[in-house]
Symmetry: C2
């Protein structure tokens, strides 16, 4: 029966190969199946046997082989997350929100960054397919990845942007946010308001552009196309912004994301222009530096952490009930006025 106590004092310096269910079963004098039931907590095991097994497992530092389990169960506990850029605080925060609710449900998060590149996104999808991830959350670049995933039965939720019809998604009310920003500027007397955006058809950019336009239209102001600067992904924004500053001289700028806001802010400063005296600036998405600079930036704040949490919840729900109709959540941003916007003095 059970062998001698065997202190087994840690530090098995050699290439101690991992102990398996069979090992602990043998040590506890049961069959592997019983050990499996005891340690995975599914199926009947007598309390006595369970205790014995648990004790042995603990003593030997048993770590279940995730690959074997995944292979058998045909699904892992890893949820894939693919975002545009992990270095951007917006996406980092989004991931933090996701991670938080995922770990409460005992799932592992694995984050990958595409660089807003469809190819890398597709690679990521394949990685998650290979790992048999039951679900993936992404800020979609192209719909290829999502379609591939869904065609293989993995649950997908799109977050921040919405690209695929019939897919779970959680987004921000971009139009409302952009409209609020623009209206704020209009209320301060600005009429030459520039929009700095990304040139894509993503719902984020399209929505923010629409909100900007709507606000102008409501104020019966014509939209001046020269004031609408839409910069393609991966194109250096600085030139375009400089040209705007130099040639068009708006009295106010609405920057549609934190990245563009940063570029604009730096160029404004480099040019020796002052906020808000020479120019007003509003950013979509609040990140820490915007509160630290002087004057602080007026922003459209988004509930970024909540965005992530919500996406994770949606995914979890989908995993439980695959046949539910697709859900789309829309969270509200809100305007936070700081010092970078002021009354237009003429």
């Amino acid at each position: 029966m059970s062998a001698s106590p065997q202190p087994h004092e840690t530090h098995e310096l050699g290439l101690a190969q991992p102990i398996t269910l069979a090992d602990i079963a043998r040590e506890a004098g049961t069959s592997p199946s019983t050990a499996s039931r005891a340690l995975s907590g599914r199926g009947y095991v007598s309390p006595a046997a369970r205790d014995r097994l648990l004790a042995v497992a603990d003593r030997l530092g048993y770590v279940p082989n995730a690959s074997a389990r995944t292979l058998k169960r045909r699904s892992s506990r890893v949820i894939g997350v693919v975002v545009s850029d992990l270095g951007n605080q917006f996406y980092a925060r989004l991931a933090a929100g996701i991670e938080q609710t995922l770990r409460e449900a005992d799932y592992q998060m694995m984050v990958l960054g595409d660089n807003s590149e469809g190819d890398e996104e597709l690679d990521g999808a394949r990685t998650f397919l290979a790992m048999r991830a039951p679900g993936v959350i992404m800020t979609p670049v192209s719909s290829d990845a999502g379609e591939l995933l869904r065609s293989q039965g993995v649950a997908v939720v799109e977050v921040d942007r919405r690209l695929t019809e019939g897919c779970d998604a959680v987004v921000i009310d971009n139009e409302a946010g952009a409209r609020a920003a623009t209206e704020h500027l209009l209320s301060l007397g600005h009429t030459r308001i520039a929009l700095l955006g990304v040139d894509t058809e993503w719902t984020t950019d399209a929505g923010r552009l629409a909100g900007y336009r709507a606000a102008l239209a409501a104020a019966r102001l014509p939209a001046d196309d020269r004031l609408i600067v839409r910069i393609p992904v991966h194109v250096d924004a600085d030139e375009r912004i400089e040209a705007l500053l130099r040639d068009e001289r708006p009295t106010a700028i609405f920057a549609a994301n934190n990245q563009l806001a940063e570029r604009a802010w730096r160029l404004i400063r480099r040019r020796g222009l002052h906020l808000p005296g020479d120019l007003s600036l509003v950013a979509f998405d609040d990140v820490p530096w915007m509160q630290m600079v002087d004057p602080g930036l007026t922003v459209v704040e988004q509930p970024t952490l909540e965005l992530g949490r919500c996406a994770a919840k949606l995914l979890l729900q989908r995993l439980e009930s695959p046949s539910l109709p697709p859900a789309v959540e829309c969270l509200q941003p809100h305007l936070l006025v700081r010092g970078s916007t002021a009354m237009l003095v003429r």
Copy 2:
């Protein structure tokens, strides 16, 4: 033989179960082993068979089952990374550096955050053990995780901090950096220089403290313990910093990491103090906001991305040659003077 062409027009809306090596072998009229050899590129396969196999695999969108492969090979292509806080730009950048060189070597990175909690770090280690990760890179909190990992034969490299003797590591020359910062302050005439650090025995904090002390000693200045504020992890720094500002009034502060620098900066501003007129401030570790605020912060800049790259390289090397003696790389930081430090006016 091979069945009818089968267009297979995507959108297999059902729960299309993943296709396996057996599927593509059957379709190509070979045995699974040949298919394996062809697709994994190890072992002899006739060009003809290979082409056929590759074509079928491509057509069917074959994605190898990572779990099965890992189970068989007893090792995965996933390298674990565990850092203190993914939200901190320092760690984010570190991870970016790691990811970069890892992917060049065709490894996947999986990042986990402990919150400078030994427990969470240990959980992370178990996760990677479960996944059969061949190696792990970490900013160590306690040596338990590393020891567990190494006892199971997984390669470990410590980065930023060094905790375990005989372990590969890549660090910054903390002492030199701190000394440069303090000397800079001394050269400006400051004598009441406070140190804001973390209260641990980690090499980062110990090194920075030592550098600070060494500079004072070299200037034949006594170290005033009331000016040395060491804040334990997870303790709110604000109170301690406020007390320092209120009760001790140093003329200069050396903040030993970006986090503490941010807290200090905010409190200084809230108190209505001006940099560098009322107080000089130097930070260890440069992050973007430090250049954006006015005045910009004088910092000890570290090659963070390179730190990550270097750690990954070390790991890769260890994986190739497990028997090499442990290597410890030490990178040099350097002082970058901006506007937050100035001559002491009395």
